[in-house]
Amino acid sequence: MPKVTSKKCITGINWAASILTSVFFLLLICTSVSAQVPADYFKQNCASCHTIGGGRLTGPDLKNVSERQSRDWLVNWTLDPEGILKSGDPYAVKLQKEARGAVMTRSPGMTRVLSAALLDLIDAESKLEKSQFAGTQISDRPLLAEDIEEGRMLFMGATRLKNNGPSCIGCHTVNSMKGLGGGRLGLNLTRAYARLEGRKGLSAWLVSPPSLMMNPIFKKYPIDEEEVLPLVAFLKNETEIDEPENKTAMINFLLYGMGGAVVLLVIFDLLWNKRFRGVRQPMVKESYHS
């Protein structure tokens, strides 16, 4: 029938239109990838493990790094740290030993050009008396009970982070948390203070989290420097008290869910237990009488 043919034709046109539009958007996306500013890139991707003139964090202090290795080696290293380590390069092995076994991660979107630009930036910053990447200057004062409590409130979300970032509990838990615990998307942070080797390392991590999951979020809503110390205090306390893991949290969640579902199903059955007799049959009967 001609009508059907025309409809098939319309569907065909729609398909073609949807494919073409999708290709158009793909092109739009590819062309809108903009060049990274090296300083921003360093802050977002490097500063959580490296300083320039501020001493070692997880990775080495990068001040005057160009004097320690050739430019070519450094560029290749940033492009594929794991590959170079696997090749058995002695300098790479030495770096890994100094970092207590930690391996530098492959930086997102790294290119030869970007790597060279970053090295230029590091060279320029090395010449300054105090680089902007000398690291976060977190107070050395002793951590108080109030700091721990303030940190706990920030972790749980009872105090919102100043820049509106999401609170830690959404993805992380610590062993001292009772009830159903914290989130299980990210790591259990009970030993984070120990893992990141203390106040300095943990602070640098919190100021610009290098985790691929956290980076895009906290790039937009960074944790304020004033919030770093209480969070460090809270996590230090967690490492120190080192409570055993709350293994029942997940099972309890499962049981609450299943129990709730069963109760609701019973309620549904009670509410509608006359469902086949309550409405239809009386109405039919009534309609015969009227």
Partner: protein, 243 residues
Amino acid sequence: MAENITSFDYLNLFLFTILPYVALFTFFLVTIQRYRGRGFTYSSLSSQFLENKMHFWAMVPFHYGILVVLFGHLIGFLLPAQVLAWNSEPMRLYLLEITGFIGGIFTLVGLINIMVRRLSDARTKMVTSTADWVVIGILIFQICTGLYTAIFHSWGSSWFAASMSPYLWSIVKLSPEIAYVTPLPFFIKLHIIGAFAMIILFPFTRLVHALVVPNPYLWRKPQVVRWHWDRKKIRTTEFKIER
């Protein structure tokens, strides 16, 4: 582009930037075209009159469950800051998560009953098309990956607001930021891809009935349909021409 780009990067680019647009455009174009061209096919083709007892335990839990789950995702997408504010008290967070989880269990119970009903009852089996089985299959897939996520990658209501909502908005604003989703665990990614697949399937299947929900059924008085003639007379073998 980066020199150390891997085939995984291309896969992520396809799944989280191209696929959502293919899904959305297919959804809008075919949904409108089907409504304009074949509006009377906008139906779930109810099989309630073929079998009604098992139908209750299939249809009722499924729809209540899916409504809770869908609205949960929608609120996380539209009001992320409010969801995070609500979750700032652990008890409220747990309440929200358990509610969503119960919604998920309801959907699963409903779906299992739907499958059993459509396989065991001969009449409903007869009217079940391949497209219906595809819809049931993808729904089962979505609900299983969703429940897995709720249990093993909690708390979704919080991280959805923090990560998924900005990703989805970046799709709406035509500048996809896949950095929010590429580091997510495998099962969550499967769940997201399944969601795009469902959006693609939507206009081609019975799912379109969600757009033409007869809302007045909720408040209008019950109506009853009954035969208005003597059925015994109709069923008689005697053939008579009435003059």
